[in-house]
């Protein structure tokens, strides 16, 4: 069962869908030997106060992240482009929250 000889259990990222929320949100991380136990641990660590109705866990190593050093080139160019925000449209009240 063990591929790598590490005494530490692998790290998992935990996503929980709240009672009324539509999408799963990242809530934190934890250690577990496998996915099934990770879900059980997430249940005990993150849903003790009725925070959610559904749990996802993802091995932390499976997450690819953008490079923090590239913050400037990646995000600054959108600073001066307010026309990309849909604030110039009147949204009818009946539509509700978007």
């Amino acid at each position: 069962m063990t591929q790598e000889k590490s005494p530490e259990w692998p790290l998992w990222e935990v996503f929980i869908r709240g009672q009324h929320g539509a999408s799963h949100r990242h809530v934190g991380s934890l250690h577990a030997p496998d996915a099934e136990i990770a879900i059980k641990n997430a249940r005990d660590v993150y849903t003790r106060r009725k925070e959610g109705v559904s749990i996802w866990v993802v091995p932390t190593t499976a997450i690819a992240a953008s490079n923090p050093d590239m913050k400037g080139p990646l995000y600054d160019p959108s600073d001066s482009k307010p026309y990309r925000h849909p604030t110039f449209f009147d949204i009818p009240k009946d539509v509700g929250a978007m």
Binding site: M1, T2, W9, L30, H31, A32, P33, D34, E36, I37, K40, N41, R43, D44, V45, R48
Partner: protein, 251 residues
């Protein structure tokens, strides 16, 4: 009749109380943070169950004793928990094995109590059975993973099973107290749960590569209160000291 019911409710409440206290002894020092939180959650589930069962026991007794009185002001010989739950925690594998053997019986018992002819008991069982279904999911998973883990974890789980196996039989013994209640449809026939229990543990231990000891010897005397092990007194000394030292203290 109400005497038998009181006696039986003590058994239910004391099982939860003593096992809950045992699990709480891990709080802050379980082998890994996630397990520490999980086992403390389970301990709290059991203390919650205790309040319901001992609360009802006090009502049935009608002598004005509350759940707290029953928990904190009785001595060892008045406790009615099975011997299994008062056994010391041992290593973490021991604790998980003790838990799994208890859970496998507990979930069947509660499913039976849901059908009780007594509305109060049925209502409490309906609330508790959900917690207990989760408990066994958890303890079963961990027993399988540690049994079928490294040679060291396998050996520890096998010796845990060998250690606790002689305490399994007491759970299925039907004495006169229970026979009265079975006849009245208040509780399920505990001895009839053995088949389902054996099937449950056989599948788990097969997956865990653990061998069931070839013995049906059973220690007895916990739920009758006649022969508790020395460990119960030590546990009560720690659990009850505050009420003993400062009678009536509240917070």
């Amino acid at each position: 009749m109400s005497e038998a019911l009181f006696e039986y409710l003590l058994r239910l409440g004391d099982n939860s109380l003593i096992l809950g206290h045992r699990l709480s002894e891990w709080c802050g020092k379980a082998p890994i943070l996630e397990e520490d939180i999980a086992i403390s959650n389970v301990a709290l589930d059991f203390i919650g169950q205790t309040q319901l069962w001992l609360g009802l026991a006090g009502e049935i007794e009608g002598a004005g004793r509350s759940a707290d009185d029953l928990a904190m002001l009785r001595d060892a010989w008045d406790f009615r928990n099975i011997l299994l739950v008062e056994q010391p925690n041992g290593n973490f594998g021991d604790t998980l094995m003790r838990q799994y053997l208890f859970d496998a019986w507990h979930v069947l018992l509660l499913q039976g109590l849901v059908e009780s002819s007594n509305d109060r008991i049925s209502a409490i069982a309906q609330k508790i059975v959900k917690e207990v279904q989760y408990h066994i999911e958890r303890s079963r998973d961990l027993v399988i993973r540690l049994g079928d883990g490294t040679p060291e974890s396998h050996d520890k789980m096998q010796s845990a099973l060998d250690r606790f196996w002689p305490y399994v039989g007491e759970m299925f013994i039907v004495d006169t107290v229970e026979q009265h209640l079975i006849d009245d449809g208040i509780i399920p026939d505990t001895s009839a749960l053995r088949g389902a229990f054996d099937a449950e543990i056989a599948a788990t231990f097969d997956a865990a590569t653990l061998t069931l000891p070839n013995s049906s010897f059973a220690h007895q005397g916990g739920k009758s209160g006649t022969r508790h092990s020395e460990h119960l007194g030590h546990l009560l000394t720690q659990m009850q000291w505050l009420q003993r030292a400062y009678p009536g203290a509240t917070w």
